[in-house]
């Protein structure tokens, strides 16, 4: 059980061993993991198929069927105009992805800077922490009216809200990360004659990086969450908007496609962040022999 979380948790950041990936794939195939995974996923789809396509009992008859949804997704000429082979699909994807990337980059860079400052300087933290703690509990979606009111145009409110969600999460995790650094490293750095800037670059930032990357993964999830919500409310294109549109026009198969796409994009983006973290934190190697 001890290895369960280390290898599969969402927040795993780079306990990578130095074994080559070929060996790892071979080990994976020999273990029981992929077969159980297939079983689990299979159960899900079989249940979907049985309950909706075949049995159609109770409310399940209202839901889009598995076969119909998949068929729509891979068809060259889909009934509702959205499939893997249509431009509209990718247009919507790009609209959403563009917003997420913009907001994410802005939020994380500013969030990390502010978080580090807050962790480093008592004065700065005393000035900003109360404000942060007052604004943070307000659900992101509750900001929608203000965002529409204050920010010009159509794109900016959506990006603004997405930014806000990621911003708070990043600051918080960066702050926690800086505070989590063992005091002994600061003492060692001072004894070694590090200037305050040197401490910032060589102790605080690398030391907080694990927490920062956990924060980045959560921030990515928060971005998608607020993006979809704000698109539903005020968008014209984008996956969130499309979800709602397909609901109103009773194109449920397409709705399933969009939902699945959202899930996929969310997973890929989190995975990318995680992989970036693994690269930057190579020093977190698993001690194989347990010294």
């Amino acid at each position: 059980m001890e290895t369960l979380v280390a290898s599969t948790s969402e927040t795993d950041i780079g306990i990578t061993s130095s074994i080559s990936w070929k060996i790892r794939v071979r080990r994976l195939l020999r273990s029981s993991r992929p077969y159980f995974a297939a079983l689990g996923i299979g159960i899900f789809f079989v249940a979907w198929y049985l309950l909706v396509d075949v049995l159609k009992f109770w409310r399940f008859k209202e839901l889009p069927g598995l076969v119909a949804s998949v068929r729509e997704w891979i068809s060259l000429d889909p009934v509702y105009g959205v499939s893997l082979f249509t431009a509209k699909y990718y247009e919507n994807i790009w609209a959403s992805v563009y917003r997420v990337i913009t907001a994410f980059v802005l939020a994380t860079t500013s969030g990390i800077i502010i978080g580090v400052l807050m962790g480093w300087s008592r004065v700065f933290r005393a000035l900003t922490f109360p404000l942060l703690e007052m604004l943070r509990p307000i659900p992101i979606l509750a900001w929608i009216p203000l965002a529409i009111l204050l920010l010009p145009g159509r794109e900016t409110p959506i990006i603004g809200l997405t930014f806000l969600a990621a911003f708070f999460v990043t600051i918080l995790n960066t702050l926690l990360g800086v505070r989590s650094i063992d005091e002994v490293y600061f003492r060692a750095a001072r004894s070694l004659g590090f200037s305050e800037w040197a401490i910032l670059f060589h102790v605080i930032v690398p030391g907080a990086l694990p927490y920062i990357f956990v924060g980045l993964q959560i921030a990515m999830g928060a971005c998608w969450f607020s993006l979809v919500a704000s698109e539903i409310v005020s968008g014209q294109a984008g996956l969130g908007y499309k979800v709602w549109e397909t609901y109103y026009s009773v194109q449920y198969e397409t709705m399933v496609i969009i939902m699945a796409t959202l899930g996929l994009l969310g997973y890929i983006s989190s995975a990318l962040v995680r992989m970036l973290g693994n690269r930057l934190m190579r020093w977190r190697t698993r001690i194989l022999a347990g010294a």
């Binding site: 002994v184 490293y185 004894s191 690398p206 030391g207 977190r284 190697t285």
Partner: protein
Amino acid sequence: MQAVRGGAVSVRKAGKVYDPEGLNVVALEDVSFEITPGQFCVVVGPSGCGKTTLLNAIAGFDKLSGGKILIDDEVLARADKAPKPGADRMVVFQQGALFPWKTVLWNVICGPVQQGRLSQKEAITQARELLGRVGLSKIEEQYPGSLSGGMKRRVEIVRALMNDPKVLLLDEPFRALDALTKSVVQEFLLELYDITPKTIFFITHDIAEAIFLADRIVIMTTRPGRVLKTVTVNIPRPRDYRVLTSPRFLQIEQEVREYIDSEARKAFNAGERELAQ
């Protein structure tokens, strides 16, 4: 043997009280002793005897409440005036403070480079030489996370010595090592001491370790910490593990244990724990 430049430590009536308005915990009371330049001084005592407090006061991580500490006849620490931590009093920490996100080489050279004493190139050359002399050259590019405990301690000692401190402070550095690794690293420290003698201030609760390493042992009582006795260890250097079973060693050990046993029992019965960190 290199000539030793300075590093005389004088502790005069040092006192430390935690939380004087509240719990009034007296960690140190009227502690006085002298360390001559280049001497290997070990402070032994049970938990709660204030040895870490004393080390922190010299290093600059904490303030004394009374008394003074001088280095080379200059006042270093006084009541409510703590010195800034610095490379002249390098510390080797108990739980290890190698920066895990930097390579061994960077860890070793960072002190002189950050202080501006050496350029990067010079520091790397010197570091490689020192690491080579003690047999650690192959691990230069590795990260501390992949080193064993004994290796990490050795690298940390080398890092400390690279800064040419006046006093080397070691805070129970080998506490977490197993007994076999411990004696290897102890011999390692002694080798380095023989090559470049420095004033060393070493604290431990391990009596055998103290006698093996020290020129002089300062035995402290349990809380409130006072100096119980100082013992001179005149076993000749260089020393190796055979010293551990020599008659002279056992004689000194007998002497130290007689003094320390009652203090250890008192600490045990009082449920003493280390307060200072």
